[in-house]
Symmetry: C2
């Protein structure tokens, strides 16, 4: 028999009926003899309702009180889920973050977990009880309620699994697993049986929004086997685990194709090619809280260079404003922006040991006459910036080129 930590998100517990369904599911696992710890989010819509009230009072609500407010959302769900389990004859006990206790720092609205006291939960599990824990929340050393920030319930699940040394942390969501790419873009997309933490991070940060990056990082750090499953459909989902677990199988070179349409390209043209000029351009961007993704600097020919980077589309106007002043300072010629771009990445731990992955990618794109505007690479990822008109085509071509298309059964 195993110890499972299961996490159900806001949609999965969005109504009383759905909470009953979750109870049914959890009871099924319990009936098989598994020890169960269940982490739940607030019922969908509830957190926004609470934030809405706060915003009526303060444009930027006081962070400590914000945490007191929004933490009630999960508290409602844990109570209702325990009632639904008891109704089915299973003993259950609910825990707020304070009651567990999930000790965090005091960074309200974005606290980080420091320690988890497992003694009470352990006693309950030993007594045969289902333990139901409010996700997303903790308590600081002075007893103040804290929250972990949006998506924090995934982190709670992984952290509890790590602390309890659970056999698996199962994240129930509205997709049945992690896909090789978005099925809405490429009909050949298929569910992955397994993926490594590193690949998952690259997939997630590239826009495959199945799991919160922080939870995946946490799972990787503590080596907690993580499984993504559908809340209302049966199926094995996708297991996210360590690289080593793949030793028994033929590892594909590329596991998935990620993409992102949220970025815009900013080019500073005719920058005098002197030491420190890159920092002088990028520092004010960072200071303005604009996040930069890909950065490319061309080799200079005439003593000047072009520096190109991508930012979120919402930040283009702000970036232009900042760069207006910087341009004059560094004596650059002009600033050009383009938000009709998209980023496509191939991701896979297998590419570490395989030569020729990049050229295969570029060949596939060239065959479709897709021009590559920028390239960036990491150990397990190659990303290109292209004209957004060709995004779908690029994803489908690469999906096929790397043998990811589902085999017709």
């Amino acid at each position: 028999m195993s110890l499972f930590v299961q996490k159900y998100g806001g949609t999965s517990v969005g109504t009383v009926e759905r909470i009953e369904s979750v109870a049914e599911k959890v009871a099924g696992f319990r009936e098989q003899g598994h020890d169960m710890v269940v982490v739940v989010s607030a019922m969908s819509g509830e957190t926004n309702r609470l934030i809405g009230m706060a915003n009526q009072i303060q444009e930027t609500p006081d962070p400590r009180e914000m945490d007191v407010l929004v933490s009630t959302g999960e508290q409602v769900t844990i109570a209702l889920l325990c009632m639904a389990l008891k109704k089915r004859g299973w003993d259950a006990r609910s825990y707020t973050g304070t009651q567990v206790k999930i000790l965090t720092d005091n960074a309200h609205t974005k606290a980080r977990i420091q320690d988890i006291d497992v003694s009470n939960m352990r006693d309950d599990l030993d007594a045969g009880r289902v333990v139901v824990v409010a996700g997303f929340q903790g308590v600081d050393e002075n007893g103040n309620i804290t929250t972990l920030g949006r998506g924090g319930s995934d982190t709670t699940g992984v952290a509890l699994a790590a602390a309890l040394k659970a056999d698996e942390c199962q994240i129930y969501t509205d997709v049945d697993g992690v896909y090789t790419t978005d099925p809405r873009v490429c009909e050949g997309a298929r569910r992955l049986e397994k993926i490594t933490f590193e690949e998952m991070l690259e997939m997630a940060s590239q826009g495959s929004k199945v799991l919160q990056i922080r939870a995946v990082e946490f799972a990787g750090k503590y080596n907690v086997p993580l499984r993504v499953l559908h809340s209302f459909q049966d199926g094995p989902g996708t297991l996210i685990t360590l690289d080593e677990d793949f030793s028994d199988m033929e590892q594909p070179v590329v596991s998935g194709i990620a993409f992102n349409r949220d970025e815009a390209k900013v080019t500073v043209v005719g920058v005098p090619d002197t030491p420190g000029v890159a920092a002088r351009i990028l520092a004010p961007i960072g200071a303005a809280n604009i996040e930069i993704d890909v950065i490319v600097q061309n080799v200079s020919a005439d003593g000047t260079t072009d520096m190109t980077f991508t930012v979120h589309r919402n930040d283009v106007a702000k970036a232009r404003e900042v760069l207006g002043k910087v341009c004059a300072d560094v004596k650059a010629r002009e600033v050009i922006t383009d938000d009709k771009i998209a980023k496509v990445s191939i991701v896979g731990v297998g590419m570490r040991s395989h030569a020729g992955v990049a050229s295969k990618m570029f060949d596939a794109l060239a065959e479709d006459n897709i021009n590559i505007q920028m390239i960036t690479t990491s150990e397990i990822k190659i990303a290109v910036i292209i004209d957004e008109r060709y995004l779908e085509l690029a994803v489908r071509s690469l999906h096929k080129a790397f043998g990811l298309d589902a085999i017709e059964s």
Copy 2:
């Protein structure tokens, strides 16, 4: 400068706008230099919304989880009120029952307060902060969330005032004080400046539902001056205090007229007048959880007696059912019920030392040809049961007879 504990009920904090009004009011007191502790209920409707969800799952929801669930209601209000105070430039800090901590026994949904830790609140007050506490809730010695039962927020207010040795506990509500009688029944009714705890208990239990009886008992026990005020109108309200406080004024004999239309009269006719028969009749009524108010037993003439008592109108059918069996057991003749009755009481600590109060009451009723069906008395109260058709008339007559009518200005 004084330390005030103020309590605002669900209607007073029913919307974000009203929470802002409460903040405005509290800020006003703070500005005058007073130390402020504010106890709030859940926003009106919220507790019922939560209970509604619980009832969808369990007809009788698990008590521990019920407390986890409904305690979120007040937690929302404390956070929003603190935000509204901060917006106005006043530092404030919210406390759940657990955070205070308000230690209770573990009788979920009807817990009783055992101890209150004032150290954190004291520190906050010393630092100039407004302390905002969730009413109605506490925590048991094992960290489980408990609630004090309906109306428990009043009790929280009084208990905090006692623990902090506050100068006054001010209960803000939707009336501007305690009246000599219900102004809807008697237009001469007027607000009392002061009333004793004992009188207040008699008024409240007789149907003047301004304050929870338990809170008044608590205030009396710890001698906490209690003031009832209107949330949205200015005015001195009514001070509820010890008998001794009246030494400086001419104490009226009767302070108020209470009444109640919720009762029904049950008469067991022709009961053999033997020792122990009263217990044999009333014990099964108590066992069926039917509360009995007035009991009268006539002196027997022919060896049998009639025993009459009143129960809540909702319990009449149940009482008849129970008494059906009892009647046969004790060989009583029959059971008659009458729910067209009302109870009218005169209340006042002054009647202790004044003779002739009862006869003055009966005279006043006789003058209006109102027949008295039952009489019951206590140290500071005389109650009569009459035909409900004469209720309004009786209240007005007694109000006038005892000099309670407002003096025209």
